[in-house]
């Protein structure tokens, strides 16, 4: 049997979305009523499944072609989304599995429960995955998804977004989030985004146009860095004090 210490800093809930946010109607019956029960961390939390060895397909990270017929490609604005996966101390997280999913350029998902008017694109599936490299870097090629309306009791539209699922090096770092696009006016009025009551935390979910990495006559680049929970500051300080 193994042991562990309190390895990760406590989660800062002030920069996380509220579990109960009635403007996002689905939270009303799905938020927990009791307070979360705080537990000391053990290896159950400070370890996690490791996927660095995973055999991924050559096109898994390329949503422009990974569902398209031979010689075809997805319809839409061709983009790259790239960035670094770091922890809160700034340390890169290598060999981490990132999975993404998104609507097509018209705002339609390839899912049997999505019945939006916009048509499916026969050459777009909408999912991709990759592993971060030794510097924590990742890159996807895709098309910019469309905004779409959703049933929330009113005239609600989601800003264009890409869903991200990230495995760090510990189960305590597990994260699912959404990436938005710089300049989208829907960001200010989306209840899912605004369930985060902290403008800086919202801003951290917005990818920036990155002209330096755009490919002329081909792809517009967006930059999106992801931060996972970091080491326990107390342990870190003690270590520094020992120098």
């Amino acid at each position: 049997m193994e042991r562990s210490k309190q390895s990760f800093s406590k989660r800062n809930y002030s920069s996380q979305p509220k579990a109960n946010y009635p403007d996002y109607r689905s939270t009303i019956l799905r938020h927990q009523g009791h307070k979360l029960v705080a537990l000391p961390q053990t290896l159950a939390d400070t370890r996690g499944p490791v996927f660095g060895h995973m055999d991924l397909g050559d096109n898994d990270h390329d949503l422009i072609i990974n569902y398209a017929s031979t010689g075809k490609s997805a319809i839409g604005e061709r983009i790259t989304v790239a960035g670094k996966l770091l922890d809160e101390s700034g340390k890169p997280v290598p060999n981490a599995l990132i999975e993404v999913w998104q609507a097509n350029t018209g705002g339609r998902y390839r899912h049997k429960n999505d019945t939006y008017l916009a048509p499916l694109d026969p050459d777009f599936g909408g999912c991709g995955r990759c592993l971060t490299d030794h510097e924590g870097k990742y890159v996807f090629r895709t098309i910019k998804p469309g905004a779409y309306p959703w049933p929330n009791g009113g005239n609600d539209w989601r800003p264009a977004h890409i869903h991200f699922s990230i495995f760090g090096q510990a189960f305590a770092q597990r994260l699912i989030t959404q990436m938005y696009f710089e300049g989208d006016p829907h960001i200010q009025i989306c209840p899912i985004l605004q369930s985060i009551g902290d403008a800086r935390a919202v801003n951290q979910l917005v990818a920036r146009l990155d002209m330096a990495h755009s490919v002329p006559m081909d792809l517009i680049a967006y930059r999106f860095d992801l931060i996972l929970r970091g080491p326990n500051a107390t342990i870190f300080e003690n270590k520094l004090g020992g120098h």
């Binding site: 049997m1 193994e2 042991r3 989660r11 800062n12 920069s15 996380q16 979305p17 946010y21 996002y24 689905s26 939270t27 009303i28 019956l29 799905r30 938020h31 927990q32 009523g33 979360l36 029960v37 705080a38 537990l39 000391p40 053990t42 159950a44 370890r47 499944p49 898994d60 569902y67 670094k84 809160e88 101390s89 999913w101 998902y109 390839r110 899912h111 049997k112 429960n113 599936g125 909408g126 999912c127 995955r129 869903h163 189960f171 994260l175 699912i176 989030t177 959404q178 899912i192 985060i196 800086r200 951290q204 979910l205 920036r208 930059r223 860095d225 992801l226 931060i227 500051a233 520094l240």
Partner: protein
Amino acid sequence: MDSLDIRRTRPAKTNAEMPLRETASQTAGPYVHIGCLPNTVGVKGIYPDDFTSNKPLANAPITISGKVFEGEGVVCRDVMLEFWHADEQGCYDNGIWHRSSTNLDSGLFSIKTQMPGNTQTAEGEVLAPFISVWITARGINIGLLTRIYFPEHESAINEDPHMELVSESRRSTLMAKAVDGGYHFDIHLQGVAETVFFDV
């Protein structure tokens, strides 16, 4: 362009050690399957198989099934669950991970795995065998963490230092029920039977 998007939002005192802040969570939404279990919703041909475990288990003698309920008792059919536990010897270096969704029609989730062994706290106290469960779905803004314990470990559970942190009246929400062919474990997101969720 370096990490200019990352705001230095912590107090100056801690900026040197912890300059960055965890990216905020957002709901997985109703279409989580497309990204995490695409073949289950007919997005075929991108990945040969859905990614449902971290390793093939030659021997997976226990089955755990259940449903997830929202506050009015309605079954949730759009949930993704992940399961993480120590191996039979209590070792997390050989830890076992599974992913399942609740069936789009029946709402049932199910995994086949091994019974985890005892583990320990940092202080060396024995923890009864358990499986960590992480739950995401439409309407869940930040993934919920709970645990499954098993009825045959009753004496270890009664001595378990983590179980002591849970109010006695709610401990039963963490217990799987032995049924024909394995175990049943329902999750209640809210209401009188609300499952205990943890912050680690």
